[in-house]
């Protein structure tokens, strides 16, 4: 149990720092703004207590907001994602039995399942965030294309991060 808590705290700190210092400053044109820290929410244990999931995601979002001066933006998106996460998991992995504290990671559900799950979570996150950020439906398609572009880059980075750091034994 303690192992999982420590692992997730370390993961949160490293992903958070990388997000604030590196991914927020990436110069990939004016449109792309990858949110790699979402990987933290993706990788939380699949059977985590619902309220804990909401609170942890809320705190993660607030931390991002604190450093990007966008109070409430990331928090609201993260809470929304956390709310939908259990349903997405039961939809995608109906036939997979998660043991306690097992993560939705390539080494448990396989690359295909992990990427499918990540695509849905990242897309939801980016689309919600970009529309909330401008808080209007003016330039609807411009905002949509921005969020799709950012989602694609976010997913690529997430896969790269998992290829480098994701090699661990199957069950904790």
């Amino acid at each position: 149990m303690n192992n999982v808590v420590v692992l997730n705290i370390v993961r949160f700190l490293s992903l958070g720092l990388a997000q604030i210092l590196i991914f927020n400053n990436m110069s990939l044109g004016s449109y792309i703004n990858p949110s790699v820290y979402v990987l933290f929410i993706i990788l939380l244990p699949a059977r985590i207590n619902g309220s804990l999931l909401l609170i942890v995601s809320f705190m993660a979002g607030l931390t991002m907001d604190y450093f990007t001066n966008s109070m409430g933006l990331h928090a609201s998106v993260c809470v929304a994602i956390a709310f939908m996460r259990p349903s997405i998991i039961s939809l995608f992995f109906r036939n997979y039995e998660f043991v306690s504290n097992e993560e939705v990671a390539p080494f448990s559900v396989g690359w295909q399942g992990f990427i499918k799950f990540s695509i849905v979570v990242v897309l939801l996150h980016q689309v919600l965030m970009f529309y909330l950020e401008v808080m209007s439906l003016n330039n609807f398609f411009f905002t949509l294309s921005k969020s799709l572009l950012s989602s694609a880059v976010t997913l690529i980075i997430i896969v790269i991060v998992m290829l480098i750091f994701g090699k661990r034994r199957r069950r904790i």
Binding site: S30, N33, F58, S70, V79, F83
Partner: protein, 270 residues
């Protein structure tokens, strides 16, 4: 009552979701306007020092280019000193002595969001105050919205809520400049009277009406202007003067007369 609590407890996932989501949306809408940003920006020495120490590691990468640019600026300013033998354009002379300039270094800056902020390494201890204007050597950068002891947050011109009072240099017409959220190179000039036609390369400068920026500071040059005779006001695309992606040294503008002007304003509005 007990039943109610039991019901809430059974649906705690949903109840907690609603609670946290309303809190976040409340926080989001609260800081949404320019005045909201002024009141609720999250400037702190903690976030400032994280960015500052990272910036200390990476700043050497851009130092060469920055040094050349500063040397050029020094030379230009030297030419403006009255003892200089070189002839100079009087436009560059700013005789307005009620403004004081404070140099600062950018420690964090984004250009790819819909609402971009810049963090600099000067704060309360250096006399920085909210609503000071910020310029770079090439043009207007933004307005200070948050101050901690050693750091300040600037609302960049690349922010959806920024609106700067400006003037077309050639004709003297008053207009407004907003970002328009497309690209960090371009902004949008709005409120142009329809009888005015702006040509490519016309300069747009600060009007001096806001007490935040002195007059005659470059905002950008017109890139293209399409007039629509059916509307009273038209808008134009403007290439921003400041290089937001390579921002490193900025100057904060302290309007020494601002308290006096503010108190006058209060008198007249009472």
């Amino acid at each position: 009552m007990r039943n109610l609590f039991a019901l809430l407890w059974r649906n705690q996932f949903f109840v907690l979701f609603i609670l946290l989501e309303t809190t976040s949306i409340f926080l989001l809408t609260r800081s949404y306007s320019y005045h909201g940003s002024l009141a609720y920006s999250t400037t702190s020495d903690i976030s400032g020092s994280v960015f500052n120490s990272y910036n200390n590691l990476t700043r050497y990468l851009a130092l060469n280019e920055e040094n050349n640019a500063l040397a050029e600026e020094n030379a230009r300013l030297r030419n403006l000193v009255p003892s200089s033998l070189l002839l100079h354009d009087s436009i560059y002379l700013n005789n307005d002595t009620s403004y004081r300039y404070i140099p600062a270094r950018v420690v964090q800056n984004t250009v790819n969001k819909s609402n971009n902020f810049i963090i600099i390494n000067k704060g309360n201890n250096d006399g920085i105050m909210k609503e000071m204007g910020v310029i770079s050597r090439n043009g207007v950068v933004g307005v200070v919205v948050g101050v901690s002891d050693n750091y300040s947050t600037i609302m960049s011109m690349l922010h959806s809520r920024v609106r700067i009072s400006a003037r077309v240099k050639k004709s003297g017409q008053l207009v407004n400049v907003i970002w328009g959220q497309k690209n960090h190179l371009f902004g949008t000039v709005i409120d142009i009277p329809s009888h005015i036609s702006l040509g490519e390369g016309d300069s747009v400068i600060t009007s001096g009406n806001s007490m935040i920026f002195p007059e005659n500071i470059l905002i950008g040059v017109i890139e293209s202007h399409e007039t629509d005779l059916n509307k009273n006001l038209s808008s134009a695309k403007i290439r921003l003067g400041a290089d937001f992606n390579g921002l490193y040294h900025v100057y904060l503008i302290d309007n020494v007369m601002k308290p006096e002007q503010d108190s006058l304003n209060r008198l007249t509005t009472q």
